[in-house]
């Protein structure tokens, strides 16, 4: 007797044939509601949707709650949870060693803006091709709530007291440092985070995304600019963003002049729907000016703040290295010949 089995819903797979589960990591041990966790989810879905080969990805982080997160996404990718504030150098070394790796770094505002500012700036300068996410909550979460270098001036926290130091704006720092893809977003704005992440994967060079990511335990008072409430209320998007991969046709439909399409290095397109102002993110001076104004007026602007769509020479270009990843060179290419030794020794005889 034949029975009709209810068809088991096939899990969705991406271009590479992977299920979304292949992009997940271990269970998070962060506080429930932490902004960082929602960013981890965004990374999982974007990598799945774009069909990024997880085995080719390499995750990097420093130390902090944010820096723990690479354990919570992309479990099929190697990860390097390094030391506090010095992840940029580690990522630089790894990506120089293997130029085929797709690098994704997660850091905190303390990790990048306090202890790590020097390495961050020098990494930007070297234009190491990778995505660099700052999960910015204005505090040191893991050490229980001290102010970081991005904390608001005049802010008061129960534990840390009053902050009298002006905040460092990491987007401005990145732009000044020559970064060619600089964005800011909000963990409470998943759509924008995803669009930015997608665009970042298409960028040629380093892409910095500063994401305000509330620390629900130590810095989520309404008066903090790094809280959910503040973010939701004050987020000012520079534009609405849609990312269209190179392989897809652009079908988004907007009135003439209303959108600005930005074609990335790999042929994909970021479609920016202009909002209140006609912001041009490809103009470096305009980007700096807008950030400076936002700083002065205490606005919380988000979006793709600056992009040079064609990118810029990366560290790989600067060292002129061969196409084959250095880590994959056969021993025969690593050790010169017996004759080569004889010949160089000749000069020393």
């Amino acid at each position: 007797m034949a029975t009709t089995k209810a068809p088991v819903a096939k899990p969705k797979i991406n271009l590479l044939g992977f299920e979304q589960a292949e992009y997940k990591g271990g269970p998070s041990t962060l506080c429930p509601g932490c902004g960082h966790d929602s960013i981890s989810s965004r990374i999982v879905s974007v990598c799945f949707e774009l069909g990024i080969q997880p085995y080719q990805m390499a995750k990097f982080s420093g130390i902090g709650c944010s820096s723990k997160t690479p354990a919570y996404f992309l479990g099929r990718s190697h990860g390097f949870n390094s030391v506090h504030g010095r992840m940029p150098s580690v990522a630089t070394g790894a990506l120089v060693a293997n130029r085929n790796l797709v690098g994704l770094a997660v850091s905190g505002d303390g990790d990048t803006g306090s202890i790590g500012l020097g390495q961050f700036k020098h990494m930007v300068r070297r234009n190491v091709p990778m995505i660099y996410i700052i999960e910015n909550n204005g505090v040191y979460g893991l050490t229980k709530g001290q102010f970081s270098a991005t904390a608001d001036i005049g802010q008061k926290l129960k534990y840390a007291g009053l902050n009298e130091l002006p905040p460092i704006d990491l987007c401005t720092e990145a732009i000044i440092g020559g970064c060619t893809f600089v964005a800011r977003s909000f963990a409470g704005d998943p759509k924008q985070v995803e669009a930015l992440l997608k665009a970042a994967f298409s960028h040629r060079g380093m892409a910095v995304i500063d994401i305000i990511s509330p620390c629900v335990t130590f810095n989520n008072n309404e008066d903090s600019t790094k809280s959910y409430a503040y973010g939701k209320e004050h987020e000012e998007r520079l534009h609405d963003m849609t990312f269209v991969p190179a392989r897809e046709e652009i079908t988004v439909d907007y009135a003439e002049g209303e959108v600005k399409p930005v074609t990335m290095h790999d042929g994909s397109t970021v479609i920016l729907k202009k909002l209140e102002n006609a912001y041009d993110p490809t103009n470096r001076l305009e980007a700096l000016t807008r950030l400076e104004e936002a700083r002065a007026n205490q606005e919380f602007i988000t979006g793709l703040i600056y992009v040079k769509p064609e990118g810029a020479p990366t560290i790989h270009d600067m060292v002129h290295m061969t196409d084959q990843p250095l880590t994959q060179l056969p021993d025969s290419k690593l050790r010169p010949s017996r004759e080569a030794l004889t010949s160089v020794l000749q000069d020393l005889l």
Partner: protein
């Protein structure tokens, strides 16, 4: 050329009748820094070398770009000794600022050359003085004013050539090598040399008691510094990523890479570099890049000196605990803090061995010759990848920056040891894999590289507590298991690192342990000691942690002198620490004045206790 005024040589009678000294004397050239004496000194060194005479050259330079005193010493030794000589025989006093002090450092019966317009006080009467008409010879050379300062130094080359009997052809050949065959430069310099020779022939008739005569001791030998050898070793060891920050005296390791890599390591297919050399923004970044690259599977290295080593401490502990291969060449210089950056010392032994907090211990290599700089240059990568840990190679300024005569380098016979790496194909074969599992019982686990095309390849590298499967842990049992394995790995290191080398004397009544650049001074001292009927066996340590042979050696002798170039007798301290049963036998002989040790100092120190 006009014969110029010639000042009488005040030559004491007893020296005039002294024996001839052939091929066994030391010359010191004192100049102000930046005055371009390098060409002249190199030329002399090379000329002696070309004549087949064993020779070494040491540069004693200030931490300054122009003006402060600098000295270059050249030692000829028919017996092949290469260590620094305590006193010198011939002084070329080109620097009036130090001339008085320099004179004091001459052996009785020595010789002093000086420019005849220098108003130096000829204070010693047991010395033969040769004033040289430097200004005049240079003026007459026809060389443009801008170059005069540089070629002025060729005058003493010419005068010495005459006095000592250096073959002019060898000077010319040395210059040709120096200027890579550039005819104009060779010609200008030879012009001055020849003029000085002519002048000397005309004016300096009394034969000099120091002479050089051709030998056949340098055929097939090399002449180079340890840093260049290290670089060459790294190139043949397959270095692919070098990240560094400039610091004396390590900079020339990277200079060596930048010289040899483009020549030897361009990709045959693409013509592009098969390597990347990156100048980092500081030493924290340099070691971070090395760890990133080593983790990714590259053979990665940095080079630095004390202050940089200190800055690398945190990452060094990460390498130890997360087991990431890395190589640091620490070319040691003098002192706590900035110290004397252009003086040699072996003061980083303890800080390297214990580099980083929290029960970290590091594997160190101790090259004792330029050959070993070459060998450890490639072996360091083998050990780093085999042991999956940081290897600190402890060289020093003397070994690294001075010119040594060396046997030629052998092509490495062993293939590269890439250590325990599981590739995608391997992973297909095995059921399960844990990054920190001790499968083979040697404490060394298997690793995978990022980019490995297999679903089980990935693991998460962290400096925090992890279990055998690289999962986060704070459990005592898992933590202990991991520490025990790391300790076992450290024991494994003892068995695979370069063994100490020994020179046993029959009837030895005591032992002597040393390491690194002290070797030539010790070898020479042993001969001197034997002459005084003091027989001492010698062991040269080449790696930390100690091999079993070190304990065996200590077991054999009631007194073991540990000779080293630092203040605290650091190796002696380590030996006492590791061999409590023999701790009381360890006699520290440590000296720390910024200069390489001499055979005389070692001999006297041993004789004082043993003689």
């Amino acid at each position: 050329m006009a014969v110029v005024d010639y000042q009488t040589e005040p030559r004491p009678a007893e020296i005039a009748s002294g024996d001839l000294n052939i091929n066994d004397f030391a010359i010191i050239v004192a100049t102000p820094n930046g005055s371009g004496s390098q060409t002249a000194n190199n030329t002399l060194l090379r000329a002696f070398f070309n004549m087949g005479i064993p020779v070494t050259g040491k540069n004693l330079f200030p931490s300054n770009i122009k003006g402060l005193p600098t000295w270059y010493s050249i030692r000829l030794s028919k017996d092949g000794y290469q260590a620094r000589r305590h006193k010198k025989d011939i002084l070329v006093a080109m620097n009036p600022a130090t001339a008085q002090d320099d004179l004091k450092d001459l052996e009785p019966g020595g010789v002093c050359l000086y420019p005849n317009d220098s108003r130096m006080e000829l204070a010693r009467t047991d010395i033969t003085y040769y004033p040289m008409p430097v200004k005049e010879l240079v003026k007459n050379s026809g060389v443009g004013v801008d170059l005069r300062d540089y070629i002025a130094n060729m005058v003493y080359v010419g005068v010495l050539a005459h006095l000592l009997g250096i073959e002019i052809a060898q000077i010319e050949s040395a210059l040709s090598k120096h200027f890579k065959g550039k005819a104009k430069a060779i010609q200008v310099n030879m012009g001055v040399v020849n003029a000085a020779v002519e002048w000397s022939q005309a004016n300096l008739q009394t034969p000099c008691q120091f002479r050089c005569e051709p030998m056949a001791q340098t055929a097939g030998k090399l002449m180079l510094d340890g840093n260049t050898a290290a670089a060459l070793g790294a190139v043949f060891g397959g270095v692919t990523v070098a990240a560094w920050y400039p610091i004396t005296p390590s900079t020339s390791v990277i200079d060596g890479l930048n010289d040899y890599l483009p020549r030897l390591r361009m990709d045959p297919e693409t013509g592009q570099p098969n390597y990347a050399v990156i100048q980092a923004e500081d030493e924290l970044a340099a070691i971070g890049m090395v760890l990133g690259a080593g983790w990714a599977g590259a053979r990665a290295m940095t080079s630095t000196s004390g202050p940089g080593l200190s800055l690398m401490a945190e990452f060094a502990g990460f390498s130890y605990f997360a087991e990431v291969p890395a190589v640091i060449w620490d070319v040691m210089r003098m002192g706590p803090s900035t110290g004397m950056p252009t003086r040699t010392s072996q003061g980083d032994i303890l800080s390297a061995y214990f580099l980083s907090h929290g029960d970290t211990q590091q594997v160190c290599l101790l090259p004792g010759s330029v050959i070993e700089c070459f060998e450890f240059g490639y072996l360091a990568f083998d050990f780093a990848e085999r042991l999956q840990t940081l290897i600190i190679v402890l060289s020093d300024l003397d070994l690294g920056m001075n010119q040594w005569m060396s046997d030629t380098f052998e092509y490495p016979e062993q293939p590269l040891d890439r250590g325990k790496v599981l590739h995608a194909e391997d992973l297909k074969q095995i059921e399960s894999w844990g990054r920190y599992r001790d499968v083979d019982g040697d404490g060394i686990a298997y690793r995978t590289l990022p980019g490995t095309n297999h679903p089980n390849a990935a693991y998460f590298t962290r400096g925090s507590g992890h279990n055998a499967d690289a999962k986060y842990t704070e459990r005592s049992d898992e933590w202990m298991e991991n520490l025990d394995r790391l300790a076992k790995k450290f024991q494994t290191a003892r068995t695979i690192l370069p063994k100490p080398l020994e020179m046993n004397h029959e009837n030895a009544t005591a032992g002597l342990i040393s390491y690194g650049s002290n070797d030539p001074a010790v070898i020479e001292a042993l001969d001197r000691l034997r002459e005084q009927k003091v027989n001492v066996a010698y062991q040269r340590i080449r790696a930390l942690p100690f091999a079993a042979e070190v304990g065996d050696f200590l077991a054999k002798y009631e007194r073991v002198y540990v000779v080293e170039n630092n203040y605290n007798g650091q190796m002696a301290q380590l030996l006492r620490m590791e061999y409590p049963a023999y701790a009381a036998r360890v006699v520290a002989l440590a000296n720390c004045d910024g200069l390489p040790l001499t055979a005389r100092w070692i001999t006297e120190a041993v004789v004082e206790q043993e003689g």
